[in-house]
Symmetry: C2
Subunit: 248 residues, 2 copies
């Protein structure tokens, strides 16, 4: 063996797993371990095939599996890239406020505290109850009208870079800032829609009467490794709620 050539990455295939399935799992492990960070390009298919000692066709099948999983994407003529996290899924898609369709609402952090995680937050984040977490309250406005009030919980020390400094420099979107400041990339999220009434504080923030009907969206956001990196509750006027589901 030529001492200069890199060692071949062995793929262990479990019972019932196809050769390319096992290969996909091995590639996923390398991505999750951070070998190729979100947004970066994977090596050429032939290079990867050689590294893993498989035929080019098998490598392509494995990569196709990772595309289906939403872990990587192919850009024609440029190569294969690790998905760089959620760009879409804004909370505003659940509402129709008349004006400002498609606009990014202006965000203002109105409070920031390090708090012991309440039981429900700890469960959502997968941390111990009472573990230190960062709680943000954020107000989102369109045309200077406050529309959404959010309570955002982030695990510490993972997101400790957000504990200090001027929040007005964060910009209007949390995820790009979370990626830049903490290296945390949101890969997928789950939004649970419910209904409730505004408490006094939220009503005041939204300039609505206490007890006004509100839509309540509870989000858990996850990184590539499947770890919950954020839980959030968003509230807005129920009368402005409108969401379309397509069934085929």
């Amino acid at each position: 063996m030529n001492m200069e050539s890199p060692p071949m990455k062995l793929v262990s295939q479990s019972a019932g797993q196809s050769r390319y399935g096992a290969l996909a799992a091995a590639l996923k492990a390398r991505i999750v371990a951070g070998e190729w960070p979100p947004g970066s390009a994977l090596p050429a298919e032939q290079t990867l095939a050689t590294e893993h000692g498989v035929a080019l066709g098998t490598m392509r099948q494995a990569l196709a599996l990772l595309v289906d999983e939403g872990l990587v994407k192919r850009i024609h003529g440029r190569g294969t890239f690790v998905c760089s996290g959620l760009t879409g899924a804004p909370m505003l898609r659940f509402f129709r406020f008349g004006d400002g369709a498609g606009e990014v609402p202006v965000s203002r952090i109105v409070s920031r505290q390090v708090l012991a995680a309440p039981a429900a937050v700890a469960r959502a984040l997968g941390v111990g109850p009472g573990d230190a977490t960062l709680r943000l309250r954020r107000l989102r406005s369109l045309d200077d009208v406050p529309r959404l009030v959010e309570e955002i919980w982030l695990p510490l020390p993972l997101c400790s870079a957000l504990q200090d400094g001027d929040t007005s420099a964060w910009g209007d979107l949390l995820y790009p800032h979370l990626a830049a400041a903490c290296g945390v990339h949101v890969h997928r999220a789950v939004d649970e829609i419910g209904f409730g009434q505004l408490n006094a504080a939220d009503a005041k923030a939204l300039k609505l009467p206490t007890g006004h009907p509100s839509a309540v969206v509870r989000r858990q956001a996850f990184d590539l490794t499947g770890r919950c990196v954020e839980c959030r509750t968003t509230r807005g006027d129920a009368n402005a709620f409108q969401y379309t589901v397509f069934i085929t």
Copy 2:
């Protein structure tokens, strides 16, 4: 040419359309025309390829396109079938009533009238304002507790088979009955979720106070040809509303 052999189905290919794209369109036209009704099997791939004068591989590509469109499905070892319409998408998926998860609610038609279509209904159904439509009010219960109240509008004469006869014989699901009685197959639907307050009649039906917050789901259902065959408004207790959206 042997006079006994069936004429070859010519496929006209428009500019920019692939050969199998044009073929898929031709097959779709045959399905929409009712040559193979929903639920029925398509002829063997080789038979279809011969009929259309194309290679087997081209026919397979065309069929794959129709699978992607949700028009046909392949059942391994059995063949290709025209999709027989929506089976899922129950309104109950938008609610958590505690008990009866996954159950089909018991349906009761509480009124049935032939009415001139109001403007909004006419627009949704794609008929003229004032055209004759069948309006049903339906109450859906779980464990004898009324949970959902529905207003269902159906176009006439398409659904005239539902105008007469005993509604208690319809069963709890509308779409299978619509298919059996009228030959109308619901292929896809669009549900628009909003919130509102119950009027006196709906509140009484649901045994809730007038003005109680309600989730409002407005549905348009379409057949294979893209024609709207039903519009419906479903209302239920907003406090029981719960719907999860996955974002990747």
